[in-house]
Point group: C2
Chain length 344, copies 2
């Protein structure tokens, strides 16, 4: 059997943390994987040098994950096509806005037996439907795509702090290969079949974190926050089961479900900006400018997209927490409705 | 149909918070409940007066829930038998060590159609078996007993901060009555049938909180803590399903499950003392003396009881988180094993 040749597509903070793991793991299974892992790096200038040159000399990405060494078998490649040449396993770990551009360039260049996994955060929710990035990649490249998500803050993973993650993969054989590619003593992988649930959790949790942050901003206690987190978990489940019949209850007990939700609602920017929203009364775009250098907050954006998706279906009342977050942030509803209006 | 006459057995911090709710709720359903709610109060001296006299004059329990007014229809009664006389609904809300003494006194004095609900925290775990207090009361008094548990810190409930709770009750008719007795706008009740799961969660969560506190004490991040909480939730479920076949997956999604676990692992004495254990290396009894005025910590005690229950069954390896907490606290295992040894 030919060995798997792995290519990482993306090299930001999370891509770099994952690159370290994948680089180490391919060496543990020499019968299964080729030792060289290529990583497509969007070329940038770094202190007068090319970033790829720095990475390949220092075995470190000083721009996005400073202080963490990669194994020497991870090779940064600035050309996407060259990086993916001959690869049989593609690991997508890049911001969602770049997915379609990358897939356009790779179109017709990837053999149909190539395996892929998406570590991309987020969903594309439009009034006419919800698109999972794993499915979009699958559609554009004509290959099977699994998904990985969990309570995984990149820097903590890079520092080898113990955590868990979830891989959703329909094929048991591919699932076993991905387990070997990602699992370590400190980064524990559970493989399940429900890739849809895995991806949904990673996006919808951010709405719940906004709700938790509003509660914190109002000075409510830990009972209240725990209730919001629980009700949010139930709406995530209901959303998945209403619009994707295949989503399973058990997925929400995995790292991608309850654990990631706990982390996101205790720390994280969504919680923090929402807390400031409740405390200061400033509009969300002003807070994004002040606190996030103008970047858009994921949770509020997802809340609006979910509202625009539910409204034409007359289903906003079925998801009172998601809807209440939307109404507080964008329609001037009183912040206190975060507890008054979230039970059916 | 005769109206229900409610008696509260217990008047501590939680009993007082619940007394306020029950007192208000019986007045909302005058066709269902008698307006007077009796509360058995263990008589004590309070600043030279009898505590029951103070409660009945001030409509407040200044010793255990100062600053919170009860409705006037809650009547403190120092004699247990008199308090329960004619009652058709008994609410047990007292420390577990008093349950058998109370039931001994009530034995043969309670009609068999009396309904009861246990708000008692904890379980009795001995090497030869696990006893739920609801079942112990049921056995001693010959009546059906439901259970209530959730993410409910008494003071937050008393201040009407929004939260949820779970009632486990086999009889749908009784469940509906208990819903009316406890549910308010700020204290949202879900009734389920799985009373065993409700009670188990309330006790086993404390072991998980010790694990979470050890992680905090070691300075591990939020990913690690979320992983410990999730693995703990899975062991709680496994314990229930292994030793009580009737426990349902869905119970762990209720307030008594995931929400109470989140609260307990983010605040709470179990987490806090365990954090100090990891930081200082002092033995647990010294920390109990210093931090809890000599009171026993629930989570460590439950971890030991669970170990003593599992060991003769050769099943400690099936519950690696519970067992690791026990070994760290009582057998000198390194604190770091809280992440090294908790996966099967």
């Amino acid at each position: 059997m030919a060995k798997e040749r792995v290519c990482l597509i993306g090299s930001g903070n999370w891509g770099s943390a994952v690159g370290k793991i994948v680089g180490q793991n391919v060496l543990k299974f020499p019968a299964l994987f080729e030792p060289e892992v290529r990583q497509w790096v969007f070329e940038e200038d770094y202190k007068g040098e090319k970033l790829t040159d720095v990475i390949n000399r220092e075995h470190e990405n000083p721009k996005y994950l400073p202080g963490i060494k990669f194994p020497n078998n991870v090779k940064a490649v600035p050309d996407l096509i060259e990086a993916c040449q001959g690869a049989s396993v593609l690991v997508f770990v890049l911001p969602h806005q770049f997915v379609r551009g990358v897939c356009d360039k790779l179109s017709n260049k990837i053999p149909s037996n190539c395996k892929a996994i998406s570590l991309i955060k987020g969903l594309e929710i439009k009034p006419d439907g919800v698109t999972l990035f794993s499915e979009e990649i699958s559609r554009m490249l004509g290959i099977n795509v699994a998904a990985l998500s969990g309570a995984n803050i990149a820097n903590e993973v890079a520092e080898e702090k113990f955590c868990e993650t979830t891989i959703g993969c329909r094929s048991p054989a591919d699932g076993e290969m991905f387990f070997k590619l990602f699992n370590t003593e400190y980064f524990r992988v559970n493989v399940i079949r429900d890739y849809v649930g895995v991806e949904l959790c990673g996006a919808l949790k951010n709405i719940v974190a906004v709700g938790a942050g509003l509660s914190d901003g109002l000075g409510y206690g830990s009972n209240t926050k725990a209730a919001i987190v629980r009700l949010g978990l139930m709406e995530m489940r209901k959303f998945g089961q209403t619009f994707f019949g295949s989503v399973e209850d058990s997925t929400f007990f995995e790292s991608c479900g309850v654990a990631d939700l706990i982390t996101t609602c205790s720390g994280g920017r969504n919680r923090k900006v929402a807390e400031a929203f409740a405390k200061t009364g400033k509009p969300i775009d002003e807070l994004e400018r002040d606190m996030l250098h103008g970047q858009k907050l994921q949770g509020t954006l997802t809340a609006m997209e979910v509202h625009q998706f539910l409204a034409p279906r007359n289903m906003t009342a079925e998801f009172p927490l998601f809807e209440t977050v939307y109404r507080i942030i964008y329609e001037g509803a009183p912040v206190e409705s975060i507890v008054r209006d979230i039970c059916i």
